[in-house]
């Protein structure tokens, strides 16, 4: 097996593992605040091996995620493509940052993602374009905070995985 194929398979495996963990459902509040490991994994691979993670990868992972989350088809690919682009575009600025600074970026990024997900694409609410209420807003804040807390764990975990298994 070629090194490139092996690496792609190992990266795909990390995504599959995160997708299956993300598909676990708990009680309502925990579901709302639990971090999306797929999103964090995507960010990590974009920072660690940007040449391996392209647009195609983001779209495929996003489509998988659409199915599992029951979202509109194309919604998560749209989010993932933008995130991949931003992290690759600002790769030099973000990669040397401290973990704390990266966590702050992830906090705001996931907050924006949560707000985007609350958009009422089906127009079921005639008065507003968003389904967000105060409860959703506060849970989104906690969710973003959880993402930023979990980021260092994901970062070091995947770095260990990359150094142990993925050979460039």
């Amino acid at each position: 097996m070629s090194t490139s194929l092996r690496n792609n398979l190992l990266i795909s495996f990390s995504f599959l593992l995160c997708i299956s963990i993300d598909s676990l459902s708990f009680f309502f509040q925990l579901n709302e605040i639990k971090p999306s490991l797929v999103l964090l994994t995507l960010i990590y691979w974009n920072l660690a091996l940007p040449e391996k993670i392209g647009i195609g990868f983001s779209i495929v992972v996003g489509l998988f995620y659409d199915i599992l989350q029951g979202a509109l088809m194309g919604l998560y690919p749209f989010i993932f493509v933008i995130i991949s682009y931003l992290f690759q575009r600002f790769f030099y600025q973000i990669r040397p940052m401290r973990l704390l600074q990266q966590s702050i970026i992830i906090f705001f990024l996931t907050l924006v993602v949560k707000f985007f997900l609350s958009i009422d694409f089906n127009n079921s609410e005639t008065e507003s374009i968003s389904l967000m209420d105060l409860n959703y807003f506060s849970l989104s804040l906690i969710n973003a905070f959880t993402h930023s807390i979990v980021w260092p764990v994901v970062f070091f975990g995947l770095r260990f995985y990359r150094r142990k298994w993925i050979k460039i």
């Binding site: 599959l16 997708i19 299956s20 963990i21 993300d22 598909s23 676990l24 459902s25 009680f27 309502f28 579901n31 709302e32 639990k34 940007p50 040449e51 392209g54 647009i55 983001s58 779209i59 996003g62 998988f64 659409d66 199915i67 599992l68 989350q69 029951g70 979202a71 509109l72 088809m73 194309g74 919604l75 690919p77 749209f78 493509v81 933008i82 991949s84 682009y85 690759q88 575009r89 790769f91 997900l117 609350s118 009422d120 694409f121 089906n122 079921s124 609410e125 389904l131 209420d133 409860n135 959703y136 849970l139």
Partner: protein, 284 residues
């Protein structure tokens, strides 16, 4: 490494190990592709046609996620000591005694069951019209809650828009069907609209969801309507999607806002079926 993978210094021809960002044209094309997918899905509901089949393929993921729990359970079962087993036997003996007392009430329960059977027959609903589905997962998306049911004896009787019920009442309707699974849009979903009738005032209305752990609302209720707080709401059967006379929710509050043309009626749905595993699909 090819030259395309990195920048090359013009002075020394050595590689500057810089990664190229995703090209803007690729990025734009991808965005247009994703937006097209969203628009097509919004306009024609295309994903519902194949989502169920994709869930069949992805069902191993749900099982994979359960593996750690199963391992922990089997491991804890393996290390159970003799003392714990004795305690368990003692608990079972106590339960047995309780069951013997409960059994003495069986005659009365049998009589009541026969009464219920009469009610069931009088309702003229065929038991065969219901199919059992087992919950596979409940999505974490609170604004668009979705439940995935695993169905063993599908035989193509399950179709889109069939109602899904729990022991408490209506839970939602099927939006996508696969070979062994079906996706259910919960009543809490903002896209869900159920024709209802109120239990005491007998007013017809349409109930719309607002998301999990949120109150639903009755839409376009005239200010002259005499609905009461605490009133139960049942499916009216209008439209033919949901069978009539099943519990849907309860009126929590009625507000008459000055700047609003209609009454604001908030409704509490049945709880989220986190603990419940089996649901009935009305195929009738």
């Amino acid at each position: 490494m090819s030259e395309g993978d990195h920048k090359v210094s013009k002075i020394s021809s050595e590689a500057i190990f810089a990664e190229r960002p995703i090209s803007s044209s690729k990025f734009l094309v991808s965005l247009i592709l994703c937006l097209s997918l969203i628009m097509v899905d919004l306009k024609f509901d295309t994903s519902n046609a194949f989502r169920g089949y994709l869930q069949d393929i992805f069902s191993p993921f749900y099982n994979l996620a359960e593996v750690p729990l199963v391992l922990i359970e089997s491991f804890s079962g393996f290390v159970t000591s003799k003392q714990e087993l004795r305690e368990t036997i003692k608990e079972y003996q106590e339960d047995n005694n309780k069951l013997q007392v409960i059994n003495s009430q069986l005659v009365e329960i049998t009589r009541r069951n026969s009464e219920l059977d009469l009610v069931w027959n009088s309702a003229q609903i065929k038991k065969e019209a219901y199919l059992l589905g087992q919950k596979m997962s409940l999505s974490a998306n609170s604004l668009k809650p979705r439940m995935l049911l695993s169905i063993k004896n599908n035989n193509s009787v399950i179709k889109i828009n069939q109602a899904v019920m729990s022991s408490g009442g209506i839970m939602g309707k099927i939006t996508s069907v696969g070979r062994k699974s079906a996706e259910v849009m919960m009543v809490h979903d903002p896209r869900s609209m159920i024709p209802i009738i109120s239990s005491t005032t007998r007013i017809h209305a349409v109930l719309q969801g607002k998301g999990l752990e949120r109150f639903g609302k009755l839409i376009n209720i005239k200010k002259t309507a005499k609905l009461k707080e605490g009133e139960d709401l049942y499916s009216s059967g209008l439209g033919g999607v949901f069978p009539p006379n099943f519990f849907v929710g309860k009126i929590i509050s009625i507000q008459d806002n000055v700047d609003d043309e209609f009454l604001e009626v908030r409704v509490e749905f049945l709880g989220i079926p986190e603990e419940q595993d089996f649901f009935l699909i009305f195929t009738g």
